[in-house]
């Protein structure tokens, strides 16, 4: 019962943080520098790892499905399978997981450290709301960067699959056939749904990590604990939300 109260309390706290932050939306144009800085940190610096990860996920997906589909004589559909899997599921989810591990942990650590070392209190005494200068630029940046990263991830995944299909002897599906199959069953709605999922995941990850970071109490040890808590909570939420968002979009 106490655990339930705690969870409800945290959900309420995160929603309150979101509402407070939303109250400062009009100040965003005046914080263009902070927004661009966060776009750089969230988007640009995540780009190499997103491309590498999704490229190999596409490759492994093609490899695994290629061997299985060969048995059914359906290997001409590998492109469809890899294409749709990357767009609808693996692209948004894997990029979100990566963002949780890389960006979410960094946000939680930075804000937790600012809280522990009283920088957030210092802001409060100056009547500068932490929601305005610490949370809002990060939320805006993730909303701007998540579709870009996901789209790049999806394309890398497609090319990873194409490369494996082309150069793996047992599969041997050439790129043209692979991309023809990929395009055949792909609809605009699939891409839009995938990007929408990515937006939801990214937004929730950053909100949760900001909330946990800003609610850290204690000393340096608690900073580490907050980072772990932020990443674990984000990963759980990504997978739980994945089910509900997918169901809602179907």
């Amino acid at each position: 019962m106490n655990q339930l109260k705690l969870v409800v309390g945290h959900i309420g706290g995160a929603v309150l943080l979101l509402v407070r932050t939303a109250g400062f939306v009009k100040t965003l144009p005046g914080q263009f520098g902070r927004f661009i800085e966060q776009c750089y940190l969230i988007g640009y610096t995540s780009l190499p790892i997103v491309t590498i990860l999704t490229f190999f996920i596409g490759g492994v997906l093609a490899l695994q499905s290629g061997y299985s589909m060969e048995n059914f004589g359906a290997k001409q559909f590998i492109g469809t399978l890899v294409g749709l899997s990357m767009v609808r599921e693996l692209g948004p989810v894997m990029v979100a997981i990566l963002i949780a591990g890389r960006v979410g942990s960094a946000i939680a650590a930075e804000l937790a450290s600012m809280k522990v070392y009283q920088e957030v209190d210092a802001l409060e005494t100056m009547n500068i709301p932490a929601e305005r200068i610490l949370v809002l630029p990060r939320l805006a940046a993730i909303l701007a960067m998540m579709p870009v990263l996901t789209l790049i991830g999806i394309v890398c995944g497609w090319y990873g699959g194409a490369l494996i299909c082309e150069y793996t002897l047992l599969i041997s599906v050439d790129s043209d056939s692979y991309f023809t199959a990929l395009k055949q069953y792909m609809k605009n709605k699939d891409v839009l749904d995938g990007l929408l999922k990515a937006e939801v995941f990214g937004f929730v990850v950053v909100l949760v990590c900001c909330y946990i970071g800003l609610n850290t109490r204690g000393g340096p040890r608690e900073i580490g604990a907050s980072v772990t808590k932020a990443v674990v909570t984000s990963l759980i939420l990504i997978l739980v939300l994945d089910y509900f968002v997918t169901k809602a979009l179907l």
Binding site: M114, Q118, E119, D121, A122, T125, N127, I128, I133
Partner: protein
């Protein structure tokens, strides 16, 4: 359009502080128990007490960073718990470890307040920041980052950051802790000089006896969350209360069983 700032001494209206029956509980632990005290406008009021006695929590209530379980704090006629009060009374708090923003240079740390509140244009901000830095002899550190500063410099930058806010109520949390005696004396002098020049009401939380008795107009001793005594600084040079005397001039008795136990542990 924000007017440009013209450097003037930070003189303004000063505020007194009234703490009435303040109690703060964290769960089952009572940190402040029915604390009442009055700080007069323009004075340096030192709050002393052993570690864990509730000094910093009391300061946080005055700064409006904590909510009281019961009782209230008023700054002038304003309720300290109202965030607007901090702006109305130009309250500034110098944190124990400085609480400087590690990602910003010293200059940007000081410029943050006027920039965010759009108090003046960039030229005015520069003048304001450099004026505050010059008071603390920190002009050369303007482009440095907090990680490049010594402990004493961090404290001085924290004071300079408070000065940029043109405070009428200046709170210090352990301003001389972790500093060598020379730097501690320098900080004491700065606090006294600032009050002299600006008539700012200053509340200093400290466990540094020399600081409190040398610069404090009045001193309050807090023990176990209660105010044990309040009076003029000179009254505490030879206190009659044994608990206060023991706190201010502790006698180290090596025959104390605790030391024996420590000796045994070391063996």
């Amino acid at each position: 359009m924000a007017a440009d700032y013209t450097a003037t001494p930070f003189v303004g209206r000063t505020f007194g502080v009234t703490v009435s029956n303040l109690t703060k509980k964290f769960g089952n632990v009572t940190v402040l128990n029915n604390v009442s005290l009055e700080v007069r406008p323009g004075e340096i009021f030192c709050i002393m007490g052993p570690s864990g006695s509730g000094k910093s929590v009391l300061l946080k209530h005055i700064a409006g960073l904590e909510r009281a379980t019961s009782g209230e704090v008023r700054i002038g006629e304003h309720d300290a718990a109202d965030p607007e009060t901090r702006t109305k009374v130009h309250l500034a708090l110098v944190f124990q470890a400085g609480a400087l923003f590690s990602s910003l240079s010293v200059y940007d740390n000081l410029a943050l307040y006027p920039r965010e509140h759009k108090l003046c244009g960039e030229a005015g901000i520069r003048e304001r920041v450099m004026h505050a830095l010059s008071i603390l002899s920190l002009e050369k550190a303007a482009q440095k980052f907090p990680s490049e500063l010594s402990g004493g410099m961090k404290k001085r930058v924290a004071i300079a950051r408070a000065l940029v806010m043109e405070p009428q109520l200046l709170l210090y949390d352990e301003p001389t802790s972790e500093l060598d005696p020379v730097m501690g004396a320098t900080i004491s002098e700065i606090i006294a000089t600032l009050r002299e020049q600006t008539a700012v009401t200053s509340i200093v939380v400290t466990h540094d006896r020399d600081l409190a008795l040398s610069i404090g107009d009045r001193v309050a001793i807090i023990m176990d969350g209660r105010i044990r005594a309040t009076g003029k600084a000179e009254e505490f040079r030879a206190p009659k209360d044994p608990a206060i005397a023991n706190f201010l001039t502790p006698v180290i008795d090596l025959k104390n069983p605790r030391f024996k136990q420590l000796e045994n542990n070391n063996e």
